[in-house]
């Protein structure tokens, strides 16, 4: 039932293959690297779209969650545990197979956590932090919530910039590839380019299917009802506080997933990923994608990040995203699809019935 919502997923899958063929034909497969990176950024946007577009709760702190995910993965897979190899906790982790031995670029022997263990920890830690932050700020409305999450984003940025173990301004480099299964790995080197192009798209499409399922479910309806009229939703039995908190945590976990995977892919992460301008960028992308429009958010997430990574906006990168946000707030605060003239156009691509 409701198979209709999956048709665009299949269409996208076909387009992904066609794009690969086109890039191969044009001898431009190096574009795939930026597409792969954009796909991981798109995970943040998909999660933020659930939070902002559907539940109507603003967040200017999602770069913070992305960074927490990325830094956790980076620290746990690069921090050398050799000096503590016999400590009880480390011994236990070794016995459980949560650690691995490898050599870094300089040939140093490193004992660190496995990327799987780091990935799990990254999602768990981000979820917990989002739960604690969310529990205290999610009752705030409108721009108060935006300001509180902005404050959170600033704190994460300053912590990343000031903590020695996080590499201060240099960030963390030399992050090993993420071996998923057999020869399948999140790895940014050229030989793995095509594999990673598909891998990232599969992750994005899985995230899209989960998000689409959610917005078409009972919970999705409740989230939209909170956006539309919180008091009425509450009176109908929706535990508005718990729902808002849950979707806040969920969107933070999506962001952490993007952060952790991108960190393994690029082999490094730096404080630039935690800046407020990154958060503004994600919000701008959700807005320009049509707010309560997952496909719009995903497509814009990949397209705009790709253009940015290709350097199309030059040194005006942040300016472009700031300008997009200003324009959206002035001319189409409900998203492009709510602009009457564009709505007809929008109805050609997506049917807005959620029943």
């Amino acid at each position: 039932m409701r198979l209709r919502i999956y048709y665009p997923v299949l269409a996208t899958a076909v387009l992904i293959v066609l794009l690969h063929l086109a890039l191969a034909y044009a001898d431009a497969t190096y574009y795939m690297t930026q597409i792969t990176m954009s796909a991981y950024y798109a995970l943040v946007v998909i999660g933020l779209c659930l939070l902002m577009g559907y539940a109507g709760q603003a967040s200017l702190g999602h770069a913070g969650f992305f960074a927490i995910g990325g830094y956790t993965a980076a620290v746990l897979t690069t921090y050398n545990l050799r000096p503590y190899a016999d400590a009880p906790f480390v011994s236990l982790c070794r016995a459980l197979g949560l650690t691995m031995q490898w050599k870094d670029l300089y040939g140093t022997d490193i004992l660190s956590f496995t990327p799987w263990a780091a990935f799990g920890s990254a999602l768990l830690l981000t979820g917990l932090i989002a739960l604690v932050i969310g529990a205290s700020v999610i009752r705030l409305k409108g721009h108060y919530l935006a300001m509180a999450t902005l404050g959170f984003g600033l704190i994460v940025y300053r912590i990343a910039l000031g903590t020695p173990v996080l590499g201060r301004a240099d960030g963390i480099s030399n992050v090993p590839p993420f071996h998923l299964l057999g020869s399948l790995q999140v790895n940014g080197r050229a030989p793995f380019r095509i594999q990673n192009y598909y891998l990232a798209w599969v992750v994005v499409l899985i995230a899209m299917v989960l998000a689409l399922n959610l917005v078409h479910s009972r919970v999705g309806r409740a989230l939209r009802s909170i956006h539309e009229n919180e008091e009425a939703a509450h009176s109908l039995g929706v535990n508005t506080y718990r729902y808002k908190l849950a979707v806040f945590v969920l969107s933070a976990i999506f962001a952490a997933m993007g952060g952790a995977l991108l960190t393994h892919y690029s082999g490094s992460i730096g404080p630039a990923e935690a800046t407020v301008m990154k958060s503004v960028r994600y919000v701008a992308i959700v807005a320009v994608g049509g707010m309560a429009n997952l496909w719009g958010a995903m497509v814009m997430g990949i397209l705009l990040n790709f253009l940015s990574l290709r350097g199309v906006f030059g040194s005006f990168d942040d300016t472009v995203f700031g300008a997009i946000l200003i324009m959206m707030m002035i001319f189409a605060p409900q998203g492009l699809l709510r602009v009457p003239r564009l709505r007809a156009l929008g109805s050609l691509v997506s049917r807005r019935s959620h029943a």
Partner: protein, 256 residues
């Protein structure tokens, strides 16, 4: 009075120095239509919000089915089977009429975040039942033609009806109606009276806060009159109409 579905005991709420509701006690008998009337600022809507959980009383108790529900949050009150409508209709404006009514099934359904994200097969049947129930209620209220319309595009009278449908979809045992006739014309008000009587006849107890005297006198079994936060009279409509205190409050001293 153990036949009372809902009772308030010495309910009190003030805003700053103003006692909006002061020492109000009354019972709503099971299966009855009870009305709360009073001039503007009498504390009717405050009283309502105290029962529905939107406001917390400073003193006193709200008792539903013999259990205190004082200070319960609105969602918890709704889960017990108390539904409400609002003085200014509060639909979900950009959702369809069907989706609005489906929202009324929230407390009667279960699927959570994980079941939703993974599209668990057992949620499909729940979704189908939710939709079927919503459609049945729309048909009962003669709204079938509007099923797929966006709620905010409906005329005002219809929006109010959709709000009724949404409240009924929760299958409440007590329905709180906050000025249901506000903004309706005489014809629509008459239709509304019939609807409220019909709802009562299906076994749903109704508590109506109302300004429109004709509506109240025609349909209610019992009336409570509030003035400046105090309960000044309670009884069947005919007795209330003759009560000199009520006449004084409504029409001024010279008529009493």
């Amino acid at each position: 009075m153990d036949k009372a579905l809902l009772s308030t005991r010495n309910l009190h709420r003030s805003f700053g120095g103003v006692h909006a509701v002061k020492d109000v006690s009354f019972h709503v008998p099971t299966g009855a239509i009870k009305a709360v009337i009073g001039p503007n600022g009498a504390g009717k809507t405050t009283l309502f919000n105290l029962i529905a959980g939107t406001l917390t009383p400073h003193q006193g108790q709200v008792i539903f089915r013999g259990q205190p529900i004082t200070g319960h949050k609105p969602h918890a009150v709704a889960a017990l089977g108390i539904a409400r409508t609002f003085q200014t209709t509060k639909l979900f404006p950009h959702m369809t009429v069907l989706e609005n009514v489906m929202m009324g099934r929230h407390t009667r359904t279960r699927s959570g975040f994980l079941a939703g994200m993974f599209n668990a097969p057992w949620t499909w049947r729940e979704q189908r039942q939710t939709e079927a129930k919503a459609r049945a209620i729309l048909e009962e209220l003669g709204l079938t033609a509007h099923t797929n319309e966006t709620a905010c595009n409906l005329p005002f009278g219809r929006q109010r009806l959709v709000e009724f449908a949404r409240a009924l979809a929760t299958e409440p045992s007590l329905l709180l109606l906050d000025e249901p006739a506000a903004g309706l014309n005489i014809y629509e008000t008459q239709q509304l009276s019939q609807l409220i009587l019909k709802i009562r006849d299906t076994g749903i107890t109704c508590l109506v806060v109302e300004h429109d005297m004709s509506l109240v006198m025609n349909i209610s079994d019992e009336v409570v009159v509030l003035d400046q936060g105090h309960k000044i009279a309670e009884g069947p409509p005919a007795a209330i109409q003759r009560n000199p205190e009520v006449i004084r409050v409504y029409l001024g001293d010279e008529h009493a």
